[in-house]
Structure formats: structure tokens, C-alpha cells
């Protein structure tokens, strides 16, 4: 082959010119190889394990699956609170690439405006970041679910999730007792995590119990959330890959919470709610009702007006929330323990016990009880302004004579009254396991000096002796005190939860009723009891007369075959000028009306149930409280002791209906006017 190209003059010798240059090439390649291999060695061998773990964490996302909360059952195992499967629609801000269009489409299916959806997603993205799904609507109907699922393909980020919804089949009934659930607040996360010190970990988005049993028993009811791992790609999308191994990360399935078995009886609870909704002249009662067994077990717990806790399970609207908190009758409050009230005349039996024990009177001592009574410079009245003449203590209770108890108050003094009231639990927390219980108040001379810096005035003995003045109590305290009177001395701790059972049906905890003290037993070895059985029997006789005596203040309310005992109370919450006093209470504006109390038990000799009712603004205990208590006791006896009830005659109460004949309202109208 010839090489005629003029510019190519190279020969073999000339090519050898480079011979000594090649070693530089070997050197460069050698150094480069060393660098690369050295670096690979460092990354893959030395840092290999660390970077492998890092790559695993990179792709593994923890997904929390909330455990279903435990059920709340009544004493017979019937459901009071359970869980329902539900559907919610959410939008993931990170994937919602065409938010406007998506919102538009979703608003057509759901009854939510597109503007609202966009605003909500944008707010959440700003506040919680793009990874947190934004809930658009809960409680979807099956049709909505179906239509949304069709939309999903064209609208990235739109999701329909299956969720567990806490369900309260009794709705408004017992809402304050069971409580409700909703998302944990930022402050609560901090508080709870501090409180439980890592035993339970609360995070944003967790659903927790608020109020009532749901809150109080949170840690037992909530269960353990499941932890799953999914593989995600760099954009957070879940990858579908089989046989994924995540460096020994074991998924933990969710464990449902424990079930609570309550002392509540669903039938009695419903009867009690019905009774509070009584359709009479006063109308649905505002207040609280608690029914207990002699050993402190609570059968029914009703506060009215109420709210539907199901609304919270699915995310309460701000409109409804503001309506609830602005309602003057406080539907969210557990009035049975959360509010204290002056007891009024239902305090009188306690003063009677004190008078008997302190030997101020005997069962037969007759005290002159005129229509009015002058003490110091003031004149005190009997509520009906009737002169009762000379009456014993039983009669004084039957008639609810103020003057009789004014005299007892003068003779006893507040400290002696306080001793017996305290022994019966009044003015002290019952330590029922529910939040926000108030203690109430039993004043003493020392208390007033300390709290108000003033001397106790002798006149105050009078008002406090009839449950006005400083005395404050709760419906629950009164129920327990009356139960102690009925059982002649046995004061029990209130009990709501009988048993905690796991989802495997094993017993986690059992609770026994707890006797606080037996007042009829000697206080110390060989001593004397605080209150003798005899005194109890005397007071019980008086209470029996209230419902059964010819002039008893609650004589209209009877249960055929069974004698009910109890005491009415009417609490004036406002002072009236002289001309207003004689106005009919029910004709006054509602905020000027009296509160009515009735605490009763049956049968009168050997009570099986005690019921306390506070009926705010019902004007009188006799008409506001007594019929409600009677209804509940009757329902209880019908269920548990039907043999004790005489078959009801056709509507016997029509004749004795106070609206027709005698009006109990007038009988006790101006109970405590001064």
C-alpha cells in the first residue's frame, strides 16, 4: 500500500518517538483506577451497612392504622357506645395538581362548595405541609362513595378512605356521661405525652376521648394503633411491590381497646331520659338525673338539654359547636357533678338527723311552727305562709316547714350541721372517676372566717339550715346521701364501671362497690355511732310522709304497691321584691324561675334504688322533680321487682295530677322567701 499523502511523512521510527510517553498514560490510568476503586471501597465496604440502612429508611414509610376503641356496654352487656365503619373523602395536597378542577368536581358530588374545599386544602398545606391529607367530608353515603371513586381517576390526590366512626346509639341520652371523641389538640398532645411518659404516644391526627368516660378511661379504651410499613418512591407515592423486606421491621397489627362494662342499665337510662323529657306543663326538664343502687352502682345518668356526640365523631361543624357552647342551658355540661347548686329543702333531713343526734329534739318533740318567725330584726316565713302549729320532726319534713328547721338551725349552729352533712358526703368530692367533679360546700364558722374574713352571723344558721346560704351540693352527692339515709347509714362511693374486659374477652379489671363509711356503726372500737339507726328510722318516716302523707309536698306522685320516700326542694336563685313574690313562678321569665329538686328512694322501708333529680327553672321540686323520680323508680321496679308493683290501674295519676286539682307548685311556691 502506498502512502502518497503529502502531509503524511511519518514512518515507523517516527511513531517510536512517543515510546517513552506511554508510561505517563499507565500512570494516569493507574492513579484514576486507584481513586475510583478506593472510593468504591469506602462507600460500599466501609460505609456499606450504614448507607444500606439509610436507603431502607429512604423508601419505608410508617403507616399508622388506628385501633378501634373499646366498646362501652351496659350492665347486661348491651351496647351503649360502639364503632361503625364509615367513609371519608380526603385530598392529598401534594398530589392535587389540578385542585380547582378537583374541587369543582367534588363539590358536585358532595354538598360542599368548591371555594371552601380549595380554601381548606390551601390552609392545611400551609399549616401542616403537603403530605397530610385534608378531610373534605365524613360520613359519606354509599352513593357518594361510588361517585367519588369514579372521579378518582381524573383527579389525582382525591381519596376515599374507610374509617372507623365512634357511634353512640343513644344519641343525646347520656352524652355527658359517655363523652365524645375528636382529634387531639396541640396542647393535649403535649399534656398527654407528659402525663403518660412514653407509655402511650399521642400524635397529631390521633382521635382521643373528650369528656366523660371516653376521656377518663382513654388509656384503657383506646387500644394500640397498628404500625404498617409501605414502600414509597421519591415522590411519596406508594409502590406496589411484593416480598418487600424492610430490614427486620415487623409490622404490628392494631389491637382494639378494652371494653367497659358499666353499672348503667340501658333500660333505666332510657326511662330516665324519657322521664326528663316529660311532656307536662313544665315541659322537658333542664338539669340532671342520677339513679343509684344501694351499693353505689349508678344505673342512670342523664343531663338535659343534651347534644348528639355522633356529631363530634364525624367532625363537628363550627356552627353547631358555637351553638352548643353558647346555649344558656349548657348542653355540654355534666350537671350531675360539674355544677353545684344550693340544695334547698332537700337539706332538711340532714339537719333533722343532726338535731336528733345532738339531742336538740327527740322523735316526739313538738316544735311550734308558725307561718312566720322573727329572728333578730328579720322575719322568716314558712313557704306557704301557713301556721302549722306544734309539729314533730316527721311532720316538719312532710310539710317542709321552714320555721321548724330555722329553730333547729339556731339550736344546732352551723358547725354541728356541717359535721353530719360532711359525714354524709355533702360538700366533698365523691371521687367518681369522671373529670371536673366539683366538691360543693358545707360552711363552718372557721371556713367563713378563712374564706371571707368575716364572723359567722347567727342569722346565717337559719338560711343554711334550710339548704340555702352557703351550702352547695351536686345531684350525685344528694343521691348518695339519701341512699345512705335509706339504707340507714351506708354511704357508698359511686361506681360507674363494673369491669374492663379485653377484646379477647379476658377480664382486665373488676371493680367492687366501695363502702365509704357506715354511719350506724360505732366510729371507733366500743364507741357510739355517729348516727343511730333510730334517728335514721325517724327521718325515713318523715321522708315517707312527703310522698304518702295527707299533706306531703310530693303526695301526688305514687307508685301502686310500693311506697316511695323522698324530699322536695325548691331553690330560689333570685331575690324578688314584695310584689313579685306572689307572681306565679311559671309565668315569670325563665331566668327568674326557681330550681326544683327531688331526691327519692323506694321502697320507703328498705330502698332498692335512689334517684336524685335537679330540674333547673322548673319552679318547684314537687312538680319539677318528683314526677321524674317517680317515673324512673317505677321503671326500675317494673324491671327488677315486678312482684312489688300492683298492676297499674287505668291511669290513676290523672286524678291526682296537680294540674287538675291541687297544684303542688302553689303548695311549695315561695319556699324560701325571706
Amino acid at each position: 500500500m502506498s502512502h502518497s499523502n503529502s502531509f503524511l511523512t511519518s514512518t515507523e521510527e517516527e511513531a517510536k518517538e512517543y515510546q517513552d510517553r506511554y508510561k505517563i498514560l499507565y500512570l494516569v490510568v493507574g492513579v484514576a483506577t486507584l481513586l475510583i476503586v478506593g472510593r468504591l471501597w469506602f462507600l460500599q465496604i466501609i460505609q456499606g451497612q450504614e448507607l444500606r440502612e439509610y436507603s431502607e429508611r429512604n423508601r419505608v414509610k410508617e403507616v399508622k392504622r388506628p385501633a378501634p376503641r373499646g366498646l362501652i356496654l351496659d350492665r347486661e352487656g348491651r351496647v351503649l357506645v360502639d364503632n361503625l365503619p364509615g367513609f371519608e373523602a380526603t385530598i392529598s395536597p401534594q398530589y392535587a395538581t389540578q385542585l380547582e378542577k378537583t374541587a369543582e368536581a367534588v363539590s358536585e358530588v358532595l354538598d360542599v362548595s368548591a371555594k371552601e374545599i380549595i380554601a381548606e386544602v390551601k390552609t392545611s398545606r400551609r399549616r401542616n405541609g403537603p403530605f397530610r391529607d385534608v378531610r373534605i367530608k365524613d360520613n359519606l353515603t354509599l352513593e357518594e362513595v361510588y361517585r367519588l371513586k369514579m372521579l378518582r381517576w381524573d383527579h389525582p390526590g382525591l381519596k376515599v378512605n374507610e374509617v372507623i366512626v365512634r357511634h353512640y346509639p343513644l344519641k343525646e341520652n347520656g352524652a355527658q356521661l359517655f363523652g365524645y371523641v375528636s382529634e387531639i389538640s396541640r396542647q393535649q398532645i403535649e399534656k398527654y405525652n407528659k402525663q403518660y411518659q412514653g407509655k402511650f404516644i399521642f400524635e397529631q391526627g390521633d382521635i382521643i376521648g373528650k369528656q366523660g368516660l371516653e376521656e377518663e378511661w382513654e388509656t384503657l379504651v383506646r387500644g394500640t394503633d397498628g404500625m404498617y410499613f409501605v414502600e414509597v418512591d421519591a415522590r411519596g407515592r406508594e409502590a406496589v411491590q411484593e416480598n418487600s423486606q424492610f430490614l427486620g421491621l415487623e409490622p404490628s397489627p392494631e389491637v382494639p381497646g378494652n371494653n367497659l362494662i358499666l353499672t348503667i342499665d340501658k333500660d333505666i337510662q332510657q326511662a330516665a331520659y324519657q322521664a326528663m323529657q316529660r311532656d307536662d306543663k313544665i315541659g322537658p326538664r333542664i338539669g340532671g338525673l342520677v339513679a343509684i343502687l344501694p351499693n353505689g352502682e349508678i344505673l342512670a345518668w342523664v343531663n338535659t338539654p343534651s347534644y348528639d356526640p355522633n356529631e363530634f365523631s364525624t367532625g363537628i361543624s363550627s356552627k353547631l359547636w358555637s351553638r352548643l357552647i353558647n346555649d344558656p342551658f349548657k348542653p355540654l355540661r355534666n350537671k350531675i357533678i360539674q355544677d353545684h347548686y344550693p340544695p334547698g329543702s332537700i337539706f332538711k333531713p340532714i339537719v333533722a338527723l343532726a338535731a336528733l343526734e345532738e339531742k336538740v329534739i327527740t322523735a316526739n318533740t313538738k316544735i311550734f311552727s308558725p307561718s312566720q318567725f322573727k329572728f333578730g330584726r328579720r322575719v322568716y316565713h314558712n313557704h306557704s305562709r301557713t301556721n302549722y302549729g306544734e309539729i314533730p320532726v316527721t311532720k316538719a319534713l312532710e310539710l317542709s316547714s321552714n320555721v321548724f328547721f330555722y329553730k333547729m338551725g339556731i339550736s344546732l349552729g352551723i358547725n354541728k350541721i356541717a359535721k353530719y352533712a360532711s359525714a354524709l358526703g355533702i360538700g366533698h368530692k365523691t371521687h367518681i372517676r369522671l373529670n371536673n367533679e366539683v366538691s360543693g360546700l358545707i360552711p363552718t364558722e372557721e371556713w367563713k372566717k378563712e374564706a371571707l374574713g368575716e364572723e359567722w352571723q347567727p342569722g346565717e344558721n337559719l338560711s343554711n339550715a334550710i339548704g340555702q346560704g352557703f351550702v352547695l351540693t351536686t345531684p350525685l352527692q344528694m343521691a348518695l346521701a339519701y341512699s345512705a339515709i335509706g339504707t340507714e347509714g351506708k354511704l357508698y362511693k359511686p361506681m360507674l364501671v363494673k369491669k374492663v374486659i379485653s377484646n379477647q374477652n379476658t377480664i382486665v379489671k373488676t371493680f367492687e362497690s366501695e363502702l365509704v363509711r357506715d354511719l350506724s356503726q360505732p366510729q371507733e372500737e366500743g364507741g357510739t355511732p355517729l348516727i343511730s339507726v333510730h334517728s335514721f328510722k325517724v327521718v325515713k318516716k318523715g321522708l315517707e310522709l312527703v310522698a304518702n302523707g295527707a299533706r306531703g309536698t310530693a303526695r301526688w306522685w305514687k307508685i301502686p304497691g310500693v311506697k316511695m320516700a323522698g324530699k322536695t326542694g325548691t331553690v330560689q336563685v333570685r331575690s324578688f321584691s314584695a310584689d313579685q313574690i306572689y307572681d306565679k313562678c311559671l309565668e315569670r321569665p325563665i331566668h327568674q324561675r326557681h330550681h326544683g329538686w327531688f331526691v327519692g328512694y323506694a321502697p320507703a322501708e328498705n330502698p332498692l334504688i335512689t334517684v336524685a333529680v335537679l330540674a333547673e327553672r322548673s319552679c318547684a321540686g314537687s312538680s319539677g322533680g318528683a314526677p321524674v323520680v317517680r317515673d324512673v323508680i317505677q321503671a326500675f321496679l317494673k324491671k327488677y321487682h315486678p312482684e312489688k308493683i300492683i298492676a297499674p290501674q287505668p291511669k290513676p295519676e290523672i286524678k291526682s295530677d296537680p294540674d287538675n286539682t291541687e297544684n303542688p307548685e302553689s303548695a311549695e311556691n315561695n319556699d324560701h322567701s325571706e
Binding site: N5, F7, A15, E17, L35, I36, L40, S55, E231, A234
Partner: protein, 375 residues
């Protein structure tokens, strides 16, 4: 000695004169590249990418056709038209500036209808040819003088500046690196070497302040401390290091690399193809691949030493420096030894222009080998 060679030559057929060992090593790298590309383009969510694999096979076929055609043509043929190629390629680079397609904020491609042509890619080979032509004519005794370097310098500077302006700093640096390799291979006077070094040290701060765009500075800063912005500029570097390191000794297995399959790795079928390989085949697989490249270089250097003329030697050295610098820069960036610059890994990265150009370059080497015994 000459007679002996002639006797040898007569005994050889056309077929036997091709260096099949060299071709085999290239083919082995092709196969590794394809296996790896398949994995990189068949991730969990990348169904839309799977045709890239078949495209690469087509490009590979084209590449091998070019390889053999170039092998059979005397490399001197190309040298003859070196200046013409240079002028055409410069025109193409200028055209890119005017009508080029813009991707990721840079204009690098000319749309030729059937495919997109990246003139800066072929410029590298044109530089090899033109410099080989110039340098082969020099009679070297004590190295190239300043006068000798003037023309090569100017010829390099023009495409360098045009490429920087695209902006494609990576390719520009590689063009400069290939030119410099050839010049240094031929030998440069010691005084010039020292002066060049000094100029470099002095101009570096000026280039930093006035020559580099902010994203380019960012890349360098991020390289120095990747934790600076792990979700931003440093992300690619960190994810790539995790991918490589997590492969450990044996790798996670074919298509089991979570970093690549789950798209944590960016550009995994092009610039970051080596991290896919390192993740799935570990230290062993990486070393094996690096070794194949080394074998290719050693075989190439051997061909250069046996070339029948200086011109052939320089062509081979030029192509080898092309391969070497691409490999070294790409791997260094993938394993975190260098800032992220967009340089593909020859024979392994997806991309038609790069693959066909590489195969053409290797064809030149093969052509030199083919003619080593011919005079």
C-alpha cells in the same frame, strides 16, 4: 524484519486483521450497559420509559455498523477532511445557539427530524482528528513550544467557548481535557508547563467570580458540602452516594435497587447509570465494570504503540482520552468525588448521540489496529 511482517500479512484474511479482542471488550461493556439500562428503565412507576431500552438496542446496532465501517476505512481518509469537519461542526455549534432545542435550560441539540443531534458531542472527535493532524506533523525534540501550541490552542478555544455558552460546562471541559491530553502526550516544554500552571492558579478566582453561572457555583459548593441543601442541589449527590454505598459487596440484585427502582436516583438511565449498577451489583459488579474499561485502555494503548504512524498513535490516544475522561468524570461525580456535571458514561449511559459517537471513535482505534501491519 520487514520481510517477516510481509509474510505474516499475506497469511491474514480481511476478517482476521480485525482486532476481535478489542471488539469483544466493547461488546461486553455493551451487554452490561443493556442489562443495567433495562433495570433503570423498568422501575415501579417508569412504564413510560421502557421503550428507551429498545431504542438503545437500535442505537447500538447503528453504533456497531459505524464501528465496522470506520474500521475498514483508512483513518487517513478522515484526517484529510479534518478542517472541513471542524468548520462544519463549528457551524452546527453556532446553529445550536440560534435554533437549538432547549432542555433543562440549556440549548444543546439540533432537531434533525429523525433524531436530535448534539454538535458538541461530535466536536470531541473532530478535535481529536484535527489535533492529531497538526501534532503528528511536529517533530518533537524537547517538547512543544509556545508557537507550536498557538494553533491547537485557538482551535480548542472556539468550540470550548461556544459550548460553555450553551451552557454545557461538562462537555466544554471534556473538549478541553481531550485537547490537553493530546498536547501533553506529545510533550510540552517544561517552561510552558509551569507558566500554564501559574495562569491557571491566577485565573481560577476570576472564573469563579465572573465566569460561572450561579447554578454551576452551587454544584461546586454542594460538592464540597452536600449537606448544605440535601433536598435541593445536594439531593442528587446524596442519593447517588446512598445508592452506590447501599450496594455493599454483592449488590441488591438485578432490578432490586430501591434507590433506582423507586426513583430516588435522578437521571438514572443517563448520567447516573453507574449508581444503578453499583447499587444492584455491588462492589464486585462495579470493580468488574471498571476493570473492563481498564482492559479497554490497555488494549488501546497497545494499539497506539503498534500504530504504523504517529498520526495513528495520536488518534488512538485521543479516543482513549475521550473514553477515559468521560468515565473518570462520570464515575467521580456518581461516587461523590466531583461536583455534578452532566457527563454520560460511555457505552453504559442511554443516549444515541453519545453511543454512536463513542462507537465511531472506537472504530477509529480499530481502524488503526487494522492497519498496524500495513505499510
Amino acid at each position: 524484519m520487514i520481510t517477516a511482517n510481509n509474510i505474516q500479512v499475506e497469511g491474514r484474511t480481511l476478517f482476521n486483521r480485525v482486532d476481535w479482542n478489542f471488539a469483544f471488550v466493547i461488546f461486553a461493556l455493551n451487554v452490561i450497559g443493556l442489562i443495567n439500562l433495562y433495570s433503570a428503565t423498568h422501575g415501579v412507576h417508569s412504564s413510560g420509559n421502557s421503550n428507551l431500552f429498545w431504542m438503545q438496542i437500535i442505537w447500538l446496532s447503528v453504533g456497531w455498523a459505524v464501528y465496522f465501517v470506520v474500521t475498514l476505512i483508512d483513518y487517513k481518509f478522515f484526517i484529510r477532511f479534518a478542517y472541513l469537519f471542524y468548520a462544519l461542526n463549528l457551524a452546527a455549534l453556532a446553529a445550536v445557539m440560534l435554533f437549538g432545542k432547549s432542555f433543562y435550560g440549556a440549548q444543546r441539540w439540533l432537531d434533525l427530524g429523525v433524531f436530535r443531534y448534539q454538535p458538541s458531542e461530535t466536536m470531541k472527535f473532530v478535535m481529536i482528528m484535527i489535533l492529531a493532524k497538526i501534532l503528528a506533523k511536529k517533530k518533537i525534540t524537547d517538547g512543544l513550544s509556545f508557537k507550536d501550541l498557538a494553533l491547537p490552542g485557538v482551535l480548542t478555544l472556539i468550540p470550548f467557548i461556544l459550548t460553555v455558552k450553551q451552557p454545557d460546562l461538562g462537555t466544554a471541559i471534556l473538549i478541553a481535557a481531550i485537547s490537553a491530553s493530546l498536547v501533553f502526550f506529545v510533550r510540552v516544554k517544561k517552561s510552558i508547563l509551569i507558566i500554564g500552571l501559574l495562569i491557571g492558579v491566577i485565573t481560577a478566582p476570576l472564573v469563579w467570580n465572573f465566569g460561572l453561572k450561579s447554578y454551576q457555583k452551587n454544584r461546586i459548593l454542594t460538592f464540597v458540602s452536600p449537606g448544605r441543601d440535601p433536598r435541593g442541589t445536594g439531593y442528587n449527590s446524596i442519593q447517588s452516594k446512598i445508592a452506590v454505598g447501599s450496594g455493599k459487596v454483592w449488590g441488591k440484585g438485578f432490578r432490586k435497587g430501591t434507590q433506582s427502582q423507586l426513583e430516588f436516583l435522578p437521571e438514572r438511565h443517563t448520567d447516573f447509570i453507574f449508581s444503578v449498577l453499583s447499587e444492584e451489583h455491588g462492589f464486585i459488579g462495579s470493580i468488574f465494570t471498571v476493570s473492563l474499561f481498564i482492559v479497554l485502555y490497555l488494549m488501546g494503548i497497545r494499539i497506539a504503540t503498534q500504530a504504523r504512524d504517529k498520526f495513528g498513535s495520536l488518534i488512538v490516544i485521543g479516543v482513549l482520552s475521550y473514553l477515559f475522561w468521560h468515565m473518570f468524570v462520570n464515575m467521580s461525580m456518581v461516587i461523590g468525588m466531583m461536583p455534578i456535571v452532566g457527563v454520560p458514561l460511555p457505552l453504559l449511559s442511554y443516549g444515541g448521540s453519545s453511543l454512536v459517537a463513542t462507537m465511531a471513535g472506537l472504530g477509529l482505534v480499530s481502524s488503526v489496529a487494522y492497519r498496524k501491519y500495513l505499510f
